[in-house]
């Protein structure tokens, strides 16, 4: 599969978003499709909701499998693939198992961040056992890749507060970012939180959280 075909594919299925770092900043698949040159640096997939079986998508496992197949078919593999939350629908062991089996087929390195659907019942262990963080534990983390500083944050530990990071993480983030040279591009990723507007309507808006930056 050619890159432009891949981009067209994901644009159609919603299977993933390809990103490339360039002199112009972080380019999404749309920009790449417009002819921006350069290899794909990473691919973001999200909200697989393994275990969901309602009308909107009766076979979510097949959707995730098709995304994995499309990414694996790229001639130039991305530096990594990041899954940003809601791997499962109900945090059930078999749902983590299915997701793990499908995502393990990726040729590129995999990073998985939890969503609120992965922490049902305040059970954090099931997620982190299936998808351990690089250093182990229930932690946020950062890493450098090809001149870009990436930050992976977790904002669903206490979801009643609608996606706030909490002081521990903000303190860590401040220190982590302060250590970066000013010229270093930074990409921060966390769960994108949708909040229903008040009074309730069918319109949703992104919950804003102070003090941190998002690529969501």
């Amino acid at each position: 599969m050619q890159r432009k075909d891949f981009l067209g594919h994901v644009a159609w299925t919603g299977a993933g978003i390809a990103y490339a770092m360039s002199a112009g900043g972080l380019m999404t698949g749309t920009a790449l499709a417009r002819g921006v040159t350069g290899s794909i640096d990473f691919v973001q997939i999200s909200n697989s909701h393994i275990g969901f079986h309602q009308e909107a998508n009766p076979d979510v496992s097949a959707t995730l499998q098709s995304a994995v197949n499309a990414i694996n078919a790229l001639p130039d593999q991305p530096k990594f693939v990041i899954h940003t939350g809601d791997v499962t629908h109900l945090s059930k062991p078999e749902q983590f198992g299915t997701a793990k089996d499908i995502l393990a087929q990726l040729r590129a390195p995999l990073i998985v961040l939890p969503g609120e659907h992965d922490f049902i019942g305040q059970d954090y262990n099931s997620f982190f056992q299936a998808f351990p963080t690089p250093k182990g534990g229930k932690q946020w983390f950062s890493w450098d890749q090809n001149g870009t500083h990436f930050v992976a944050l977790i904002n669903v530990f206490d979801f009643e507060k609608m996606g706030l990071l909490g002081n521990d993480q903000l303190t860590w983030l401040k220190r982590d970012l302060a250590a970066q040279p000013s010229s270093m591009p930074i990409v921060a990723s966390r769960r994108c939180v949708l909040k229903r507007s008040n009074p309730p309507t069918n319109r949703w808006r992104i919950a804003t959280a102070s003090h941190a930056l998002w690529n969501c």
């Binding site: 309602q54 609120e116 659907h117 979801f159 009643e160």
Partner: protein, 111 residues
């Protein structure tokens, strides 16, 4: 013991009077991203049943931590039995703006 009670979560240290074990079941319907009724008055020892009618999953989590349901898929039910009088505000941990309250009155003979 009826199945509905056997599957229920039993809360509170207080002994449940015999009269209440002939259990009364009250239902909270979850639909349209809301708990109905939002405020449910029960008697200590009653069983409260939550039924999810939405296509989206929901949970029932007490703000105090007194109870936490599993994830409720479409048409799933979850029951909780509360024996200790008091107010139990709760929310859906997946959609925290969804809120409700269970008000538990003392059963006759309790104090």
């Amino acid at each position: 013991m009826p199945a509905a009670v056997a599957a229920a979560v039993l809360l509170g240290a207080a002994a449940v009077p015999n009269a209440a074990t002939a259990t009364t079941v009250q239902t909270v319907e979850i639909s349209g991203f809301a708990f109905n009724p939002a405020v449910l008055n029960v008697t200590a020892g009653d069983t409260i049943r939550f039924v999810n009618h939405d296509q989206e999953a929901h949970t029932v989590v007490a703000q105090s931590g007194a109870f936490t349901s599993s994830g409720l898929d479409t048409n799933d039910q979850w029951t909780v039995r509360i024996t200790k009088p008091g107010k139990y505000p709760y929310f859906c941990s997946l959609h925290p703006y969804m809120k409700g309250t269970i008000v538990v009155r003392a059963a006759r003979g309790m104090h």
